[in-house]
Symmetry: C2
Subunit: 214 residues, 2 copies
Amino acid sequence: METKIRILLYEDNRDLREGMTFLLQATPGLQLIGAFPDTSNLEMQIPGLKPDVVLMDIDMPGRTGIEATPVVKALRPETQVLMLTVFEDEDRIFQAIRNGASGYLLKRTPPTEIIAAIHDVHRGGSPMTSSIARRVLHFFQQEQPVAKMKDYDLSPRELEILKSLVKGYSYKLIADEHFISIDTVRSHIRHIYEKLQVNSKTEAVLKALKERIV
Amino acid sequence: METKIRILLYEDNRDLREGMTFLLQATPGLQLIGAFPDTSNLEMQIPGLKPDVVLMDIDMPGRTGIEATPVVKALRPETQVLMLTVFEDEDRIFQAIRNGASGYLLKRTPPTEIIAAIHDVHRGGSPMTSSIARRVLHFFQQEQPVAKMKDYDLSPRELEILKSLVKGYSYKLIADEHFISIDTVRSHIRHIYEKLQVNSKTEAVLKALKERIV
DNA sequence: GCCATTCTCATCCATTTGGGTGATGAAATA
DNA sequence: TATTTCATCACCCAAATGGATGAGAATGGC
């Protein structure tokens, strides 16, 4: 390893902080450049210490780890934030991820895996426990009851017209777009409304979007 | 371990299939109950063999692993599908995930980790390599340029009206909903249009949704 | 007190939209 | 071949919508 990975630790629990400090200092290839019980001085510490990886607890007094993460990313985008916490609820996981966290580990993860995860996140990976990963995947899967999704039996032409509606076009515009008369457009739209069981442009557009018929 | 994990393998490459077969048969706690070069007989094999975990290659002749996955989940929802493939592009990853895969490993993953992943997915985790995980997280993060988002300076009342518009309501309905006259509704909506720079209900609704002002 | 904003309501007018009805020719299907 | 579906267009009418303009009451800030 050429140069050590520069690590910053934010953890309010003193025992845990000191334990992690010991672990990190004892590990070759890693360099702990700071360990703090809160994020109140982020704005000084991040630009000053230039960490490669920040280990972030979630539940801290003052600014939580979730709130601090986007600040870190804003101050120094190349810094990787690794959440290290006891919380496993989807809300916090997603908030952390949306805020720019690159990894999400539970504190009960064995030390060797935490070390591995630090290297991992520094290499551009996103380490996470598989239970966290399951929740993330679940998010993608829980989607629509696509299977039961009625296709509403729209004709090809009706589908095109519906797409134009979803673009926010007026009847006249749609007519021009498709080189047909406005009455033909109206005719198609009437059929679309009937099939979708709606009776206005807005409702049709909303339904089309919500059930992604478009 | 009380009872062995029942595993089905779908992999068209003969060498890989035989290699995996050897690995799985040599591992205590696992029971390979079938290994097939294609998914043409899924409909018989899944209900007949009742696998706990299916190892699924993506690129197979006939029905691909991505297409086969939802079929597996439909035939036997409790079966966990673990993608095992060489492809690492976001498209395929997301297709697989959306189709119900519970894990996603690259074939170059070391055998011991594959074994661990099988146990993992069977326990309800979602093993994935951290590079895959990074891509998944990236999907959440790439979102909107929230920062640049103008708030359009809508008044509280206008925002409420806009929300009603997004519900697909007509002027009359909105008037009733808020106990105001229809002309007042029209007045608010005109102001909304002006601020959002649109000139129809549909456009306003689309803009509100797209920029999630609602 | 004065000013800006917001919320309210109104009137007038033109355009758009929704709904009813019907018709024609082409294409696909039974 | 007969029937059905699709795409096209038309005419009528009523309701909804969009745009211009104005105006009174309430609120909050300066």
